[in-house]
């Protein structure tokens, strides 16, 4: 494909966008509480993209995509930046950025043919059903049980931190299919219709007051062999693809917003102005520290992407640098906001979202150092897979999982009701 082709593609995309989509000034915040009316409207927007041939741009045409290159997708995203494209809230990223790419890498042609075209057309949004109350950092320790009988499977257990489950159409669910082998070797992924009998969803209220996360209970959910994603008992390799995608090694949906080097931490400068502290040298230093971190993090991400492309190391492991950088810088930046605002961040007029923003950023700051792999897990990845430091003695990787459970005194999870304990 020549650059001229890409330029032509860009020009076509631009005229279609101008003719069909509503322009938006600055990036609008992602929807955080999605109701049915909003969702119907966003599905309509996705159908419109789909009809025009601008959905699933880099996905195979066999499955409803356009079969073009990722460079085409990037070009379209760049052009689309100023326009109102579909907003599926948190499920936008999990569906288009995580679940479908993972399925494309591991799913059977039948499975893909059955599901991907619906995603492209805006009829199917996907949630990850991965973590469990007793399997947080220890993701391979899932206890959701899938039992086979002929070509039927029965799945029982509970999943947690499933962002956006309450408005998802399908879930990509990890379950244990063998208990007599070490934990990484008895896992299988399933595609689960979220309206299947036996699926119950409970929204979890978060520290910030929002309820994007859900706990999902599976109680004897009936599936078939056709719903298996990848190979039975080989789910951990699928999981690794998913984690690498999630942690920043994979493709991104929309292009990034403006480069942080373009302006000096504008949010914090505005905050300093708001409390009349722009000329305070310590405030200026804090703002500059945040800016330095922002710019360096952007450059680090570019470097990691380039290193991944150059093949110097496993991209999934390299992504740990980006994830850990976010996980350390984000809380520090949130604390800087608090330091600048001072007591002004503690109290605001009722309903004033703008004045509440600093406090909310502080409360939310540490989610980056926990969700999707804690800082500690990322440090292990960097230390062991990139720096070649020896692993610690493990007490649970070479032992049948049933034995691990017996030793640690816990009981297998199936059948737990909606009062299950929360988890790391």
């Amino acid at each position: 494909m020549s650059d001229a082709d890409l330029d032509a593609y860009r020009a076509r995309a631009r005229s279609w966008l101008e003719a069909n989509l509503e322009p938006v000034g600055s990036p609008r915040p992602r929807a955080t509480d999605v109701d049915p009316g909003f969702l119907a409207e966003e599905r309509r927007r996705q159908r419109e993209l789909c009809s025009a041939g601008y959905a699933g741009i880099a996905w195979p045409s066999t499955y409803g995509g356009q079969g073009l290159s990722s460079r085409h997708e990037r070009v379209f995203n760049e052009e689309a930046e100023g326009f109102r494209t579909p907003d599926f809230g948190v499920l936008g990223q999990t569906t288009f950025g995580i679940c479908v790419p993972t399925m494309l890498a591991h799913g059977s042609p039948e499975l893909l043919a059955r599901h991907v075209p619906h995603v492209v057309a805006g009829n199917s949004l996907w949630v990850q059903l991965f973590s469990e109350p007793d399997a947080g950092s220890d993701l391979a320790g899932v206890r959701t049980r899938a039992t086979r009988s002929g070509d039927r499977w029965t799945v029982s257990g509970s999943k947690i931190w499933s962002s956006g489950a309450y408005f998802a159409d399908h879930g990509l669910c990890l379950a244990r299919t063998s208990w007599d082998v070490p934990k990484h070797r008895g896992l299988t992924w399933f595609a689960v219709p979220m309206d299947a009998p036996g699926v119950t969803i409970r929204r979890l209220r978060q520290i910030t007051g929002a309820s994007e996360f859900c706990q999902v209970f599976l109680d004897g959910v009936e599936l078939t062999d056709a719903d298996v994603v990848g190979e039975v008992d080989a789910g951990w390799s699928v999981a690794r693809t998913m984690l690498a995608t999630e942690r920043g090694g994979g493709s991104r949906g929309a292009a990034d917003a403006a480069h942080p080097a373009d302006a000096l931490a504008p949010d914090l400068v505005a905050l300093a102005d708001g409390v009349g502290r722009r000329d305070d040298p310590q405030v200026r230093d804090l703002v500059a520290r945040a800016h330095v971190a922002d710019v360096v993090m952007a450059e680090l991400r570019s470097r990691v992407i380039a290193l991944s492309r150059a093949g110097v190391a496993d991209p999934g492991s390299l992504a740990a640098y980006v994830k850990l950088a976010h996980g350390t810088v984000t809380p520090e930046r949130a604390r800087i906001g608090l330091q600048i605002a001072g007591a002004a961040a503690l109290s605001w007029p009722e309903g004033s979202a703008a004045e509440a923003a600093t406090a909310h950023a502080f409360l939310a700051g540490r989610s980056q150092s926990i969700a999707g792999g804690t800082n500690e897990m990322m440090r292990n990845v960097i230390g062991e897979r990139l720096l070649g430091l020896p692993r610690e003695h493990s007490v649970d990787t070479d032992v049948p999982f049933a034995e691990v459970i017996r030793r640690t005194g816990a009981t297998p999870a199936p059948g737990q009701g909606p009062s299950g304990e929360c988890a790391r």
Binding site: R205, G276, L346, L363, I370, T374, D396, R407, C422, R424
Partner: protein
């Protein structure tokens, strides 16, 4: 979890009673369902008054009395239990007002206001922070003299229980100096607005003074001469706020430590991993250091070094409180990120305490003049 040093038995009893009272009258569990803090339950302050919560800094001849030789250490012992149990109510303000009236109040104030506060029949709060969060005397409210009257104008935020308190303490500024007022909240021109905030365990409002006229009877001490008392009030409030934080830190750390001991991942308790163990060890060290400097500041009450020790304690404890909240959240992981786990309530409370009555940066800046090294040229 932290160690207890031997202390006078009366103070240990006082703390134990405070802890039991808190659990009985306003348990932490009650806060889990609320977004904006609950009011103190009926009879709360009256019962607290009976336990001596507002009496320690008031001389015995005025109806008060501490249980040990070190009265501020006694109040600190109560404040620690209050923080550990996320208690409501303007405890700090009531102690500060009670102490101030004992030190400088008029006969009338000592008769009408002081006993009501000491006994917990009535409550007081204070309005000292301006909209940008500055705690300097006179920053929020100014006053002018008009004949026999004083006219107050200004706007203050972070006024605890603004809507329910009977009196409000004001450190008002004027070109001729700072005057301390204790003003009935029912005075015309004084308007209260509820506010939302980071700390949902307490209720902070805003108070606007629009031409609020008060008489000489509202003045504590001499008009225009309140500067020294104002600084002392901020010091006492800072110590009690630091104590509240230390109580909250102790409880939050204890919960987290227990979680690290019992939560299993990778086939072993997470607290057996050095990453978790060492983070908790560092946090424990900081907490022991907080206990040490808090005690030192309380013991410095009434000595020339009080101001300096308070600044050191509030600076150190403020930073340590914010860090402790972050560290505990990191160990708790996802569960600590949920609303239903109590951690976030403690994190909100500790963080608010870090800023109330002077954040760490402001406290550190105050050390240079406190050591006679002058303001920045």
């Amino acid at each position: 979890m932290t160690y207890a040093l031997p202390c006078p038995p009366e103070r240990a009893l006082l703390a134990e009673a405070a802890s039991r009272f808190a659990r009985d009258h306003s348990p932490v569990e009650a806060l889990r369902t609320s977004d904006v803090g609950a009011p103190a339950p009926g009879g709360y302050h009256r019962a607290a008054g009976e336990l001596g919560w507002f009496a320690m800094l008031v001389p015995a001849e005025l109806g008060g009395g501490s249980v040990s030789e070190s009265p501020l250490a006694d109040v600190v012992a109560i404040a620690v239990e209050r923080g550990a149990n996320l208690q409501p109510g303007p405890f700090t303000a009531m102690n500060v007002v009670a102490e101030s009236l004992g030190l400088a109040g008029s006969a009338l104030q000592r008769e009408e206001v002081l006993p009501a506060l000491v006994e917990g029949r009535r409550t007081a709060t204070w309005a000292v922070t301006d909209g940008c969060g500055r705690w300097a005397p006179g920053a929020a409210v100014s006053y002018a003299v008009d004949g026999d009257a004083f006219v107050l104008d200004g706007f203050a935020v972070l006024v605890e229980e603004a809507a329910t308190a009977d009196w409000v303490l004001v450190q008002a500024g004027s070109p001729s100096g700072v005057t301390i007022f204790v003003v009935p909240t029912a005075t015309p021109g004084l308007e209260v607005a509820p506010r939302e905030g980071l700390d949902v365990t307490r209720r902070f409002g805003a108070v606007r003074f629009t031409g609020v006229r008060v008489g000489r009877s509202a003045v504590v001490g001499e008009p225009g001469r309140g500067g020294e008392l104002a600084v002392h009030q901020l010091c006492v409030a800072a110590v009690l706020t630091a104590a509240d934080a230390v109580g909250a830190m102790t409880r939050d750390f204890g919960t987290t430590l227990e979680y690290a001991r019992t939560r299993v991942a990778f086939g072993r308790p997470i607290g057996s991993f050095q990453a978790v163990k060492h983070l908790l060890a560092d946090t424990s060290l900081a907490l022991e250091a907080c206990q040490a400097i808090l005690a030192a500041a309380a013991d410095a009450y009434g000595t020339p070094g009080f101001t300096r020790y308070v600044a050191v304690a509030k600076a150190y404890i403020g930073d340590a409180a914010i860090t402790l909240g972050q560290n505990c959240l990191q160990v708790l992981g996802g569960i600590g990120y949920t609303w239903e786990h109590e951690h976030h309530l403690y994190m909100r409370r500790m963080t608010a305490d870090a800023f109330l009555f002077g954040d760490p940066g402001a406290q550190r800046a105050s050390l240079w003049p406190a050591y006679g090294l002058g303001e920045v040229a």
